[in-house]
């Protein structure tokens, strides 16, 4: 055995504190989180339908909550969660055919998922407010 010492430190395997998650990992987790958020979000749909089916003063009450700034914030987040999950779902369906799994392609689609969800969410709200104004 020779006494050769390493001149540089040997590389360690990636450690959690320095590991930069690839975008595909982030979107995978976000797909699950948005799925879970949409799950509980169905309560808002059920509540809103119940209010519309009920007496007017109760409908106005619920409308007031949905229309408040916090209500609008929640609904904005809800819109984004749905659109992100929808686009992510399309991504899954593409993968299911065996396409789009190559590393760089997958990263590009993941970025498209993130950017697309934000752009579409803003679009929905801008159009929504334009309709309301007009």
């Amino acid at each position: 055995m020779s006494h050769s010492h390493a001149t540089r430190e040997r590389p360690l395997s990636p450690h959690l504190t320095i590991y930069r998650p690839p975008i595909t990992m982030t979107t995978s987790i976000v797909h699950r989180i948005t799925g879970g958020a949409l799950y509980f979000g169905t309560l808002l749909v059920a509540w809103w339908l119940t209010a519309a089916a009920g007496p007017q003063d109760y409908f106005e009450f619920v409308n007031g909550i949905f229309g408040s700034w916090i209500g609008q914030l929640v609904l904005f987040g809800y819109t984004w969660a749905l659109l992100h999950h929808l686009l992510g779902g399309i991504r899954h369906l593409i993968w299911d055919t065996g396409a789009g799994l190559e590393k760089h392609t997958a990263s590009k689609i993941a970025w498209a998922n993130v950017v697309g969800s934000v752009v579409l969410t803003i679009l929905v709200w801008v159009v929504g407010y334009m309709v309301r104004g007009g």
């Binding site: 699950r32 799925g35 879970g36 949409l38 799950y39 169905t42 309560l43 749909v45 059920a46 339908l49 119940t50 519309a52 089916a53 007017q56 409908f59 106005e60 819109t79 749905l82 929808l86 779902g89 399309i90 899954h92 369906l93 299911d96 929905v124 159009v127 929504g128 407010y129 309709v131 309301r132």
Partner: protein, 127 residues
Amino acid sequence: MADMRTPLKKVEGLGSARDGTIHFWRQRVTAIASIPLTLLFIGFLIAMNGAGYAEMRAALANPLVALLIALMLISALIHMRIGMQIIIEDYVHGDGGKLALLILNTFFTIIVGVVSLFALAKLAFGV
């Protein structure tokens, strides 16, 4: 290593849970159905933004609107119940807790569905 499965097991392809890939498949079918249905729903909400009580009720009583919302709900509820089951099975390992959450998952889905569909029916049939 020798394959321990019998020829019958292989032909059935059902695996140890005995229902094969039905959850996977249903998750995909409801995903596909949910794409146009949720997009239409978003479109409906945009169009109805700012509508008052009477206007909203009239729109929801329209058969086409009511049926499309009902279809969206059914598709999304089947889809989300399977999805939540997968999440529970991934993270909850104690048998008791897992069983309790799986049952709650079913209850939640059915209650949200029945309440929503009842509201739609009430609006449609106007009583």
